[in-house]
């Protein structure tokens, strides 16, 4: 992932500084004193389950709701009191919110006309925008004549055609089917690089967030759980929520072995030192980080190896999924690429096997009481 701060588009982008942003609905804290700095030109995704506050945060940036307290600055300018139509941010709505009584071109020209752009320039920029979203020649179409994917592109074109300094997107791809969604993810990413505009993207789809973002802000119960790059979020989740929400994982409690190292099922799983705390520590096991120790060359110095019984083995196309029992009724999941036939070792339920985990891959997080 590249950081778009480097592509020289900073002149059209603005950083966003959010401090102490609080919004209550009755007793519910939709946003609980959120602090977040969004860098100029970066693609930041607000990721969280429904009701986490991610949309509330986006709406606050757009100016559609009135927070109870806090500060939102675009660059140096405080905008918390500014009405939405003066904030000059582009937005793509989940519903697209295209105006059905206007043509495609009419929709895209709408923000330009409001800004007093001349008839001629307006037409040029609409065509340019249509070209950018690969809809050239569809300007005269009615909105109801467009497919879901085309509407999405029109909504996008309308959001950036007036060259806003900030672009907001509220689950813009959620209405599309899987294939189209995946293609649009790449296109959006490409478009972002092309425009260089600071982009705040809301989704509940962790894969989408991982695919598109420069940074991800994981949000839960109105608080930021972790803000970091996709790799960091995935490889070094700060807490159980992030570990659980991003990617597949099994969480198991760790204990100290005789040497004082953190261990699981009698196997030392990390070489790093972790201080003793009241809660203790948990191991986050990613299925793809486990491998069959029988079939790979195993270095016992670097690998924790467990004896397991196979419970279930499922072929899923590009990957295969194996559920194993590690002895004391603890189940772990493994995922293999099916690129080579022997990768799965032809495992059947009831087979005995050995499963390895490289100690440097072990993800250790503070243990939390399970809700």
């Amino acid at each position: 992932m590249t950081n778009s701060e480097s592509n020289g588009a900073a002149s059209t982008a603005l950083p966003i500084h959010i401090q102490g942003l609080t919004k209550r609905y009755g007793k519910l804290h939709a946003l609980d004193a959120v602090d977040l700095d969004i860098r100029s030109g970066e693609f930041l995704t607000l990721l969280g389950p429904s009701g986490s506050g991610k949309t509330t945060l986006l709406m606050a940036i757009a100016g559609f709701n009135r927070p109870d307290a806090g500060s939102i600055r675009f660059g140096d300018e405080e905008v918390i009191l500014k009405p939405p139509h003066k904030r000059d941010v582009g937005m793509v709505f989940q519903s697209y919110a295209l105006f059905p009584h206007m043509s495609v071109a009419g929709n895209i020209a709408f923000p330009l006309k409001l800004r007093g752009v001349s008839e001629k320039e307006c037409a040029e920029r609409v065509n340019e925008a249509l070209e950018t979203v690969q809809l050239s020649g569809l300007g005269e179409r009615g909105i109801d004549q467009l497919s879901g994917g085309q509407r999405q592109r029109v909504a996008l074109a309308r959001a950036f055609v007036f060259r806003p300094r900030i672009l907001l997107m509220d689950e813009p791809l959620s209405a599309l089917d899987k294939k189209l969604r995946e293609r649009m993810q790449i296109e959006l990413k490409h478009l972002h690089r092309q425009l260089g505009v600071t982009t705040v993207y809301v989704t509940h789809d962790q894969r989408e967030a991982l695919t598109m973002s420069d940074r991800i802000a994981v949000i839960n119960h109105g608080r930021l759980a972790q803000v970091d790059t996709p790799e960091a979020i995935y490889n070094h989740p700060a807490n159980a929520f992030v570990a659980d929400f991003i990617g597949e994982s099994t969480m198991v409690p760790l204990s100290r072995d005789a040497s004082g190292s953190l261990s699981f099922a009698g196997q030392r799983i990390t070489d790093k030192a972790y201080e003793d705390t009241a809660e203790g520590w948990s191991l986050v096991v990613r299925p793809e980080r486990l491998f069959l120790a029988d079939t790979a060359g195993v270095d016992p110095e670097k690998t924790a190896v467990f004896d397991v019984t196979v419970r279930e083995s499922v072929f899923q196309g590009e990957t295969a999924f194996v559920l194993v029992d590690i002895g004391d009724d603890t189940e772990l999941a493994l995922r293999f690429g099916t690129g080579s036939a022997e990768a799965t070792g032809g495992l059947k339920p009831g087979d005995r096997a050995r499963v390895g985990l490289l100690r440097e891959d072990a993800i250790v997080i503070p243990r939390e009481r399970q809700p």
């Binding site: 904030r87 000059d88 941010v89 937005m91 519903s95 009584h101 709408f110």
Partner: protein, 302 residues
Amino acid sequence: MNRPDAAEGGNRDRNAGMLRAQERREEWGLLSLAAPALLVIVLVILIPVGWLFYLSFIGGDGQFSLEHYRKMVEYKSYARTFATTFEVSILTTGICILLGYPLAYFLALLPPRWAGIFMLAVLLPFWTSLLVRTYAWLVLLQRKGMLNEFAIHIGLWDSPVKLVHNMTGTLIGMAHIMLPFLVLPLYSAMKKIDRDMMHAAANLGASPATAFRQVYLPLSLSGMVAGSLIVFILCLGFYVTPAVLGGGRVIMVSTQITAILENQFDWGAASALGVVLLVATLLVLYIAARFFKFDAALFGKG
């Protein structure tokens, strides 16, 4: 019952006949659901209207005649009555739009529970009889009515203002009675407008007034047109309210039809008036439809 051996032989047509029969039965079943409505339409609309049409061309001697239509040209009262009818209907519709649009907008913005309570208030007039509501206005508006007495008491004006037994009173009463017919379709059209529409407009730089004019108004127009047409058409045939509140000065077509029937028992003459009103109404609707389409095209260009 399917015997295995029989199924073996004719797999392609297996049960085809029975399945077709079942499908046909279902279709007839659905059709029969519509039958009562169709029958009612034929019985209470087509036949009476056809009869009306026929009667209007029958003269006093029972022969085909245009005398009823000729009379409408001969006496100016008919043309004036039609003019009054359309004037009252157009003005009432206009007043209803002026009052009803903000009201429907307000209702559409309310949370559903409050909207329900306010809607009840809008619909409340429906629960009392038309006559009662009309006479209530008479009591309020007449020369020594509550409004005049109150206004004189607090010094708003010195001598009674003529609020009823004229066009003013008629329009007040008509607008009150017709308002729900406008508000209901308008409200439902407004409820269908996605809140994101106004957000999007604001986000793209439209001030609230601009967003309303360029987005909300065009999107609620269909409801407004539907409601206005209902109000307008109901007004055309209204009898009681103009009769009571118009003080005999607001003579609608319905008034004249009643006068003809009560005085002359002349069904042919009354029918002719009905036919002309029907044709005039259809003409107005046709023009309105044309105009509206033209409108839609206009808005489509954004």
